[in-house]
Symmetry: C2
Subunit: 303 residues, 2 copies
């Protein structure tokens, strides 16, 4: 399973029961939190997301609607007696704020909290099956997008064909999965593709929240499976969007097209639009890019 569950899809001023930004990415057994606006832990309760399963939290920038829920989440993990370490990746200035908030409690967290300051574009997490990296986006203050990518998956053994080559020892199967040919002791070569087939291609998810329109973003996420891009305003407010370092529907869709993305998810809707207006966001974005979905709270989208 590779999916994203939306916990907040609104811009900074909460309205119409829409919440500030937070999303949970599920990849295999892991949960990753991208941003953590105020009320994120309550949204997790509501949508049955188990906070204990989160190991990595990524904060895009230090506007409150993207991190004011973090201290509460860390505290609730503490009150639930979490033991597993937790990693937070965020702009440097958050570290002191969190430290002061934890210090005010006058108790020690029962788990290790590792703070990783984001100091430039690059890889943040590198695991055997996936990686998470960050890339620059352009907001009023330092801001980062995130890209979570599955690594190439091992090839699958074609059991039926493999039966035709009993000479291949079982121990070599792992090498077959990695794409190697089998060379028998007598020099016979059994080409890899005669006994294996390609696994499903690795998928990727990019998160670009709170940025002015910038085609450079597309360069960092070429061929991404699913892109979440902020679309704060409808297209008629392009000027307002630019003045506030945000994007319109059409601009978000343009980034998806330039990136060659397969799917686009849009959110961070301005509080000036009530829920009855949101269908317009989808309509407008589709004029530029065909596969668009609205980021709706509580909904899980398959990457």
């Amino acid at each position: 399973m590779f999916g994203v569950t939306i916990l907040g899809n609104n811009s900074a001023l909460p309205a119409y029961d829409r919440h500030p930004t937070a999303q949970v990415i599920t990849l295999n057994d892991g949960l990753f939190l991208f941003d953590c606006g105020e009320g994120t832990q309550m949204q997790m309760n509501k949508y049955k997301i188990r906070r204990s399963r989160i190991q990595h939290i990524f904060i895009s920038h230090l506007h409150g609607d993207h991190y004011f829920g973090l201290a509460g989440l860390l505290t609730s993990m503490s009150l639930s007696d979490r033991k597993a370490p937790l990693h937070v990746y965020a702009p440097q200035d958050l570290e002191l704020i969190l430290k002061l908030q934890v210090m005010a409690y006058d108790t020690k967290l029962p788990y290790d909290l590792f703070f990783h300051p984001i100091q430039g574009a690059g890889v943040l997490v590198d695991e055997p099956q996936f990686s998470v990296s960050c890339f620059k986006v352009y907001h009023r203050i330092d801001a980062w997008g995130f890209l979570i990518k599955e690594k190439r998956k091992p090839r699958k053994i074609d059991a039926e064909k493999a039966r035709d080559y009993p000479a291949i020892p079982l121990l070599f199967y792992e090498h077959l999965q990695n794409g190697e040919d089998y060379i028998a002791p007598d020099g016979t070569v059994i080409k890899n593709e005669m006994v294996t087939y390609a696994n499903i291609p690795p998928k990727s998810y990019a998160y670009s929240a709170d940025t002015i329109f910038s085609p450079s973003i597309a360069e960092h996420i070429q061929g991404v499976t699913m892109l979440y891009h902020e679309a704060t305003y409808l297209k008629d407010l392009e000027e307002r969007a630019a003045s506030r370092h945000h994007c319109t529907t059409v601009q978000a869709a343009t980034i998806a097209r330039l990136a060659g993305a397969q799917k686009l998810l849009i959110g961070h809707f301005s509080s000036q639009y009530d829920n009855d207006k949101l269908y317009l966001f989808e309509e407008e974005a589709k004029e530029v890019f065909p596969s668009v979905q609205l980021a709706l709270e509580g909904v899980t989208y398959e990457v």
Copy 2:
């Protein structure tokens, strides 16, 4: 109107759609916020509390369930272009946290934010018609209770009786309201109570949240009209309550009795009790003090 609207009645770990502590006190035209747990601004939206009307915010102590919603509220006031000054009264350590959070925005608040560190028991706000003072309560960290008191209200002129004394000039009526006798130029004395009667007695509301059981609290709030006191646990968990610096139902009711309060409101219910168990809180407290109400979210209680 003198009332309190409950925005959050749960202890630290949000559960059963109950929220961390926050209450809005309405007195005449003013709104006062006592504590501001995470999600307070959303609760204000839900219950139609106009945040623009709040001028004074009081934070009892620096456990997150009593202040993690403050930065978001201040930010939303900023995004709504508030101009009116705002006063925050809280333990000193909150000042730096708020400053760092505001600084991270790299924009100036459009209103003046005055931070008043609470450095000891005493008067925090002194206005012609009311005062707010703080008193010590006893938690794991420095913690304060608050007492908001109407001042003695001017006596009412009895229009019918006043007609019998046309010698009293209209300009003297204000003195009559303040309880003075009228002395005519010829030395005749018209006693105050001959033309006035007492106004309704001034009311008061005390807030004592997050404290271990301490009879000393009752001394500070003698004769209070309505007391809100935390009651985190049912009476069978007195030991757990003490170890966590909290109170039981019976302990909260005992403080109300010792204070000679007219009414008691209890809240800060532990997450170990679901909503179906809350009636037990009321039942138990009533064994000790007759006039008890549960603090329920969204409900306004008249002081």
